[in-house]
Symmetry: C2
Subunit: 690 residues, 2 copies
Amino acid sequence: MKKLLFSLWLLSTTLGLRAEDGHQLWLRPHQAAPVTVVVAAKNSTLLAMAKQELERNWQGAAGATVTLTLKKDNAIKHDGFRLGPTSVRATTEAGLLYGVFELLRRQQTGQPVADKVFNPSYEYRLLNHWDNPDGSVERGYAGHSIFWRKDSSFVVTAKDKALWQEYARANASVGLNGAVINNVNASPLILSAEYLGRTKAIADVLRPYGVKTFLAVKFSSPVLLGGLKTADPLDPAVKKWWQAKAKEIYQQIPDFGGFLVKASSEGQPGPQDYGRTHADGANMLADAVKPYGGLVMWRAFVYSPNDKDRAKQAYNEFVPLDGKFRDNIIVQVKNGPVDFQPREPFSPLFGALKKTSVMPEFQITQEYLGHSIDLAFLSTMWEECLGSDTYQAGPSSTVARVTDGSVYPQKHTAMAGVANTGLDRNWTGQDFGQANWYAFGRLAWNNQLKSAQIADEWLKQTFTGATSSTASASDWNTNFLAPVTQLMLASREAIVNYSMPLGLHHIMSATHDHYGPGPWWAPPKMRADWTPPYYHQADAQGVGFDRTTGGSNAVSQYHEPLAGQFNNPATCPDEYLLWFHHLPWDFKMKSGRTLWDELALHYDHGVQQVRQFQQVWDKAQPYVDAERFAAVQNKLRAQSGNAVLWKDACLLYFQQFSHLPIPAIVEPPMHTLEGVIANDAVRPRQQPRP
Amino acid sequence: MKKLLFSLWLLSTTLGLRAEDGHQLWLRPHQAAPVTVVVAAKNSTLLAMAKQELERNWQGAAGATVTLTLKKDNAIKHDGFRLGPTSVRATTEAGLLYGVFELLRRQQTGQPVADKVFNPSYEYRLLNHWDNPDGSVERGYAGHSIFWRKDSSFVVTAKDKALWQEYARANASVGLNGAVINNVNASPLILSAEYLGRTKAIADVLRPYGVKTFLAVKFSSPVLLGGLKTADPLDPAVKKWWQAKAKEIYQQIPDFGGFLVKASSEGQPGPQDYGRTHADGANMLADAVKPYGGLVMWRAFVYSPNDKDRAKQAYNEFVPLDGKFRDNIIVQVKNGPVDFQPREPFSPLFGALKKTSVMPEFQITQEYLGHSIDLAFLSTMWEECLGSDTYQAGPSSTVARVTDGSVYPQKHTAMAGVANTGLDRNWTGQDFGQANWYAFGRLAWNNQLKSAQIADEWLKQTFTGATSSTASASDWNTNFLAPVTQLMLASREAIVNYSMPLGLHHIMSATHDHYGPGPWWAPPKMRADWTPPYYHQADAQGVGFDRTTGGSNAVSQYHEPLAGQFNNPATCPDEYLLWFHHLPWDFKMKSGRTLWDELALHYDHGVQQVRQFQQVWDKAQPYVDAERFAAVQNKLRAQSGNAVLWKDACLLYFQQFSHLPIPAIVEPPMHTLEGVIANDAVRPRQQPRP
């Protein structure tokens, strides 16, 4: 008897019936059908990877033969590919790999495979990791860095390499082809020999999956690391230092991608310290990497403490420089003019820079959208931005089209996303955070994709069908896929509703690392543009930031008809209303309700939405493994409490100015304003890990 | 112009247009009509007080003459009185004072005044103050003691006296005639010359309002304070010490009420330390105060760590002693057999002690019902207990009737309430806590009063009509009085619902001083009967404490037909179900639902009730002064959050055993069990005072 039990135990462990930890992302193992793969190209590590993927995961006709062909094809751009039911053709090895992943994805998600060319929207599709040399991750909510160690160890272990390989494979599976592996608030150390050594090791592991390695650099590195007296970009010694550094890097990493630079921004050093322009600084670095085909991504996230409207400054600084950047520079622009808020209008720089390559930067990590606690499918937010029409070159000048080369003849195109990965076993802390990594990759490949399709794809690949004996697999579509897709699609708007509806922005808690409400936060001597009251401007008269022609005039940075539309509260869309207008509490909304009531209803609706998400998820239990079910259930519970906190705190705070009652149909507050403010003043307790 | 403004300011301050702090309780000043008061008795301080009340607050016919007559009247018992529209007759001075207050109450609350005798249900109507000599108050949530000072100062200030006088007047206004002014967990210090000096000063201030002073004493005082080797009640030296102490007290306070004793209980010393019985101990003390007409109140709140059912022990210890107590002893019995829980069945000692005077002890301070945060009108709880039929002398042997002398010929009758007063400006922390002080007095005077009437009376006297210019006074009854009365009447049941429904008990947090949920709390080596799992007994099979004949058999301490009714889950009332039974999670309730679903629905209903209270209160705003409106609104908000915490914590905790889903119609949890338990393990942050 004992022997039998032991055998059963052995069997069960062998079959891998272990706790589901989400580590395999959307790349879950399948019972593969037999397939023969013919590679019509010179052997390479990259092609070996492509072949292996097909052999391990083929779900098509048993015994089929699939050919991978590397061949010139004018219809194929960059690392795109041409797909057939049993063939992939491309002009690059990476293209073949992406074609293989596309073929397998279509098999798994039940999409047809017809003969068709798939070209990427952007040449560079990059993750930006805000990972520090000490292993911490700025705005990271999923554990320490996957690249750098706490003890600054430079020993590259087999475990490191295995993890990096899994990471690279996940990127490749959604078409991501580059990674900036350190924080934009860069340490000069990253350019030291030791860190470059580890960078080379990382690059070597990423390369076989077509992922190029980039580094973020500190503009003052020549001083801090090189011992020079200046980092002035026009100084010959500085130029020489960077040229030498570039050479040193490319000797070790011949396909090194290039530099990402945050300069003259939020206290970071930059060319303006020496009276030079952003163009002067960027061009100097661009010249240094040019010989090797390197790229410089120069961030436009700039603002100074004294500006009356932070939202205007990037436009004001960069538009005059249009046309003055080298052609291997891309100006990297955050999706909105302030900072990754739950909702912002698109940055007016999109489309305004007509002679400069411009790339959008999105934030995958949920700095302002609930860290790794709240469930936020960000694809809808990015889709909203990419689909926004800038009108800068006439109608249909969407953010997507003015950045992907469709409108302006950009030399290079790219899209960046601030990564949400960490050492947490499931990579992203919240299991649904994986969907944002996935969605970012898919949208960077095809900026016309719809979020509904992306959610559908991700769910089908990530949750592989009925897991409970009481649930039939045929119910899966109806009872799991459909409602959970709807949950995902509504999730970002729910967060907007319970945190910053109707165009409110930047009213989060500073003491709790941007998690939770903090509209009151304004310590003495704090620079105003870091405090919520600067943004919501609530007073007895009303609420909102007046960016109309009568106010900061930020509205004029938008092209007509937007400027006129945004400038008039009657035509300004509700979702941007308080972004552009300071309006009285009793302002009559399009709904017929007063602004105050509408605000209260939005907050309350957000809370009710999260509760509804909880119920959807509870009903999904039979279709999900116990571990991920419980993990997400616990996260939703915490989010639900957080939603109520947001609602209560903001309504009670703003009520001090409006002096109006909270409408009776809104759930009464369960917090007192005093209590919430007192708790905001202390550091949070450790969130228990579910 | 400046002069005019100054005059206006002077006028407004003179008229007393200051912030409403609730300090005046239900005794608010009125524009009195002229009245002539004729006192047909010898002048006395007490009668002067009565006369003054009439002159200051008369609301009857202007120019009326009211006579106060002290005269023998066989219909009048104790300090009762005979009332007419313009006359009060009594056999005691205190009776006249109570008659005056009754007359004024009826004028103010619009009740008719016909010729009628009003007799008190109990001879002694007492507050027990759990106030320590250092000024702290055990289970006090309204600031420090009104009697004792933090710095143990014995200086009696004019401010002290003014406060004690206000306190005594409030007591007298509802018929309370005694106060035990220190904690039952008594310090021996209270019998030292210094503390007796301050006690005399207090007694001197309380006396003119008919309030007698009592002290709680530590049984081992002869050892701790007197330096004796023993406190054995049969030891002659011990007897002598107490006799001398009694003499010392009565020399200073000739009308001193007597002693309250908590002995051989929760670690307090007592006669059992010397192998003597409770009767031995109580009788010795009774003998000491007998010559002066003093009383001994001996608490029956006893239980030992090793008993299998704490609920049984008081009965087991005291029933064999029935008839063995001196006639100036009253055994003081808590309303329920465990400890002031939100709901308990009545203590089986009521009616079972047939030859012993027994007095009920209620808890006015909200130790287990939300401190001074939650709004709990406890009158309904006391009414429920007093109205419970013990059947000990046939039907209609209610707790009220077996304690007030209607059933058994008790030498003395009394009722005690653990006070909720403190130095907080509004006396009780939560403004509605005043209603419990009021209700306790009213029920001690008349144990047949209905809570609806008490609430109506209290509201009419405490909130004196429309205060907002937009609210018409004629709407007051409909829009304020009726809904707020309903709120009060439902408030205790709401707390039962969201904290300990269906007979659950003692599952509160120990780390947060009995505020909030703690069903999990059971540190290693903690005595079991102080831990919630001892009481809820949750396991995979079910939940509840089996006190049936097949279990601890506590049920047999009740007289038939109760014992049989409680013993059978089919006939046991739902509200006591888990008090008497351990039942399976899928037990079919009278509602047709399973026990688990019923439990979940009760928790959720409690939450929804509090939210409804919030809305009732919000609508009451035009009828309440801004200060008390905001204070109560803030308390209700905090209570609302606490209700959700209770619901989430208990359902998630019990779900670990039931393994059943929370019904879909229940609001999904916003806490995680891990989070709640983690927060329970730390000391609470300071509650902000609204």
